[in-house]
């Protein structure tokens, strides 16, 4: 198969006036809606889906993927500026991105997030063009046993995300996993911890909890004492001062490269791939850094790496959708529906029957990411200006948008109640110095973990040997075990041998 020919055809499609127009519209409205606190890619794309029902299939998918990228960038904007992650993958962006914004460096954080995503987009496009449909096989190699092992590895990584004590992180991981079991049992369908409440049957919603634990809790924390007038955020005004500096680029180059490759590889797997990619990249950069203590206090590597990984993963997740008909996440599920309404069933035949669609969509993502930069860099001063709104006006506005956002996910006021409760809980957690990030990440992984763990046991006839019999899962589990044991060994060695100079951390 001529992959370069396919790519050329893709450019022909994606650079056509209609495709460019729809890509542009998608990116613009995606960013505009995604930038509202609480509305991440999933919510945005579900809200805007009906608009695309009338378009032709290629335009509609190009526009929807534009909305997807736009909303992803929009949710990074809210993560960095007001610490509200629009989706699970931008929880990690909140950590250092928000710290950067608090130190007057919102501009470089936003800029690096856009540039990193763009570079990741190029890497992913090249990856798909080179290996393209060959990669589709990767997704089907991953069955329940392999997922269980991957998620186990992910859960161990989660404990390294938080800056604080590992013990406390693990408490939050446990609670997050426990929260993921609320609702109907994934295997037998019986109710657990629903206390007879209907709305809990679907389980807790990650978007609602994130808005509560981060957005509402932040508003409450802001209200608890008066602000020091001297320490109000001073952000530069000129675009030039808002762009990443040369030092920023030097610090971010390697994280962007590593994040893109990691994101691309994990994004090919349906399920938690993209999320695991984002925090695996964070943990990797923290580990590789010569100054790991800067992480959590506004390190630009902590924004550049995960944002690139996230974007590369998002792009790679189109491969299993278009070549196998496997939607890797809710957004891909919506896209699959959009294709099907046009009579195109994503699956193994798509590349043969609709090469223009396949390559056009792949290339349009690249075009979409370019548009994101072209549109958003001039807008940087505007986004940063949002931080100049006085806190006493910004706080109520954040509340309004969180409330409408929570409502619009399911058109239900019950979700607002849940968000409010988690908001108060989030504030209390903060007072008790418990980090909500590992809680949320573990929550997302918990559902996948339990489901695949129990599926594996069903398939393996109740024997856990299945995890060791499959080579991929055995390898992943070995890596997880290594990660778990290494810090203990290092700790032990340090104990035996007193540190020669300086203070032990």
């Amino acid at each position: 198969m001529d992959l370069l020919g396919g790519l050329a055809q893709g450019f022909a499609v994606a650079l056509g006036p209609s495709a460019l127009l729809h890509c542009m519209i998608g990116v613009v409205i995606g960013t505009a809606i995604g930038v509202l606190p609480g509305l991440g890619p999933t919510a945005t794309i579900s809200l805007l889906l009906p608009i695309t029902y009338r378009l032709d299939p290629v335009s509609s998918v190009i526009m929807l993927s534009g909305i997807y990228y736009g909303a992803m960038y929009g949710s990074s904007i809210t993560a960095i500026l007001v610490r509200i992650p629009g989706e699970a993958a931008s929880i990690v962006t909140c950590i250092d991105g928000y710290e950067m914004a608090r130190r007057g460096r919102a501009g470089p954080a936003l800029g690096m997030s856009a540039f990193g995503s763009f570079i990741a987009g190029i890497v992913a496009t090249i990856g798909i063009a080179l290996f393209g449909p060959m990669l589709s096989g990767v997704a089907i190699r991953f069955g329940p046993a392999e997922y269980t092992a991957l998620v186990a590895l992910g859960l161990i990584l989660v404990t390294h995300v938080s800056g604080g004590s590992v013990t406390r992180s693990l408490v939050m991981v446990g609670l997050g996993l426990l929260a993921s079991t609320v609702g109907l049992d994934p295997i037998v369908g019986s109710e657990r911890f629903t206390m007879g409440a209907l709305f809990l049957q679907d389980g807790l919603d990650i978007a609602i909890m994130a808005m509560g634990l981060f957005g509402v809790a932040e508003v409450l924390a802001m209200a608890e004492r008066s602000l020091k007038p001297s320490e109000l955020l001073a952000q530069p005004r000129r675009t030039r001062d808002l762009l990443p500096t040369r030092a920023d680029w030097r610090a971010s180059a390697a994280p962007i490269g590593r994040g893109s490759l990691l994101g691309f590889a994990l994004g090919l797997l349906p399920g938690g791939g993209a999320l695991i990619a984002s925090f695996a990249s964070y943990v990797m950069e923290k580990r590789l850094s010569r100054t790991p203590e800067r992480f959590g206090t506004g390190a630009i590597e902590g924004v550049a790496g995960p944002e690139s990984a996230n974007n590369a993963a998002a792009q790679a997740s189109f491969v299993p959708l278009l070549s196998l008909g496997i939607p890797s996440n809710v957004v891909m599920g919506v896209l699959m529906g959009a294709l099907m309404i046009h009579g195109i069933t994503p699956g193994p035949m798509l590349l043969q029957s609709q090469p223009a669609l396949f390559w056009g969509v792949i290339v349009s993502m690249f075009v979409g990411n370019l548009m994101l930069i072209v549109l958003n860099v001039p807008l940087l001063p505007l986004f940063v200006a949002l931080l100049r709104i006085p806190q006493r006006i910004l706080s109520p506005l954040i509340l309004v948008f969180c409330v409408v956002g929570a409502y619009s996910l399911n058109n239900s006021t019950t979700d607002i109640v849940t968000m409010g409760v988690f908001g108060v809980l989030g504030w209390l957690m903060r007072k008790a110095r418990l980090d909500p990030a590992p809680f949320l990440l573990a929550f997302v992984l918990g559902g996948l973990f339990e489901r695949s763990f129990r599926q594996s046991l069903l398939i393996g006839g109740g024997s856990p040997m299945i995890f060791l019999q499959k080579p991929i899962s055995a390898a992943l589990l070995a890596a997880a075990a290594l990660l778990l044991v290494l810090p203990l060994v290092r700790w032990g060695v340090r104990r035996l041998r007193p540190a020669p100079t300086g203070k032990a951390s």
């Binding site: 809606i33 509202l36 809200l47 608090r102 604080g164 004590s165 013990t167 693990l170 408490v171 991981v173 446990g174 609670l175 996993l177 426990l178 079991t181 049992d185 037998v188 019986s190 657990r192 911890f193 932040e218 409450l220 924390a221 802001m222 209200a223 608890e224 004492r225 008066s226 602000l227 020091k228 006493r392 109520p396 506005l397 509340l399 309004v400 948008f401 409330v403 409408v404 409502y407 619009s408 058109n411 019950t414 607002i416 109640v417 409010g420 409760v421 908001g423 108060v424 957690m429 903060r430 007072k431 008790a432 110095r433 418990l434 980090d435 339990e450 763990f453 129990r454 006839g461 109740g462």
Partner: protein, 165 residues
């Protein structure tokens, strides 16, 4: 650790004890859901295991707290560096009360009226803003969110019993 504080923070201990009580209750419920049936794990196994994990580390954290090895305050409370003065309990109670009461007002009163009330309480009572800016922010916020969500995005915001909005 030389900078270890001698006494554990009372909030810390209380939080960890609440978590322990919570996971104990969850673990007890899990037992009732069934741990193992027909040679397969039942619905209760996974929640029981994760409750145990949470409980184990909560106990460890509790021990650490009493040993004076609790984590530093600033790490989890980025705002504290920007703030000063005593805790404003009244203000925070108003904020929390508004967030919790909002949805309950929305069902009978509709989105527009309930949001106007919530914003009024926050701006006028909690933030003590003057009448004119209160009115301006209120009208802008309600109008904008209604336009964007109800009109543009077609989200059917609740109209309430009065049918306003």
């Amino acid at each position: 650790m030389t900078d270890a504080r001698a006494r554990p923070a009372p909030g810390d201990v209380a939080a960890l004890l609440v978590i322990l009580a919570l996971v104990a209750a969850a673990g007890q419920r899990s037992l009732a859901y069934g741990l193992w049936s027909y040679g397969e794990p039942g619905p209760g196994l996974f929640p029981l295991l994760v409750s145990a994990v949470a409980a184990f580390f909560a106990v460890l954290a509790l021990i650490a707290t009493f040993a004076g090895a609790g984590p530093a305050e600033a790490e989890f409370d980025p705002e504290s560096a920007q703030q000063e003065g005593p805790m404003l309990w009244g203000k925070i109670a108003l904020y929390a009360g508004v967030v919790l009461a909002w949805p309950w007002l929305m069902v009978p009163l509709g989105f527009v009226v309930s949001t106007a009330i919530a914003l009024f309480v926050v701006l006028r009572l909690a933030e003590r803003m003057a009448w004119a800016p209160t009115a301006a922010v209120l009208v802008a916020a309600v109008g904008l969110s209604w336009l964007v969500f109800d009109r543009l995005l077609g989200v059917p915001l609740p109209h309430g019993l009065l049918g306003i909005g």
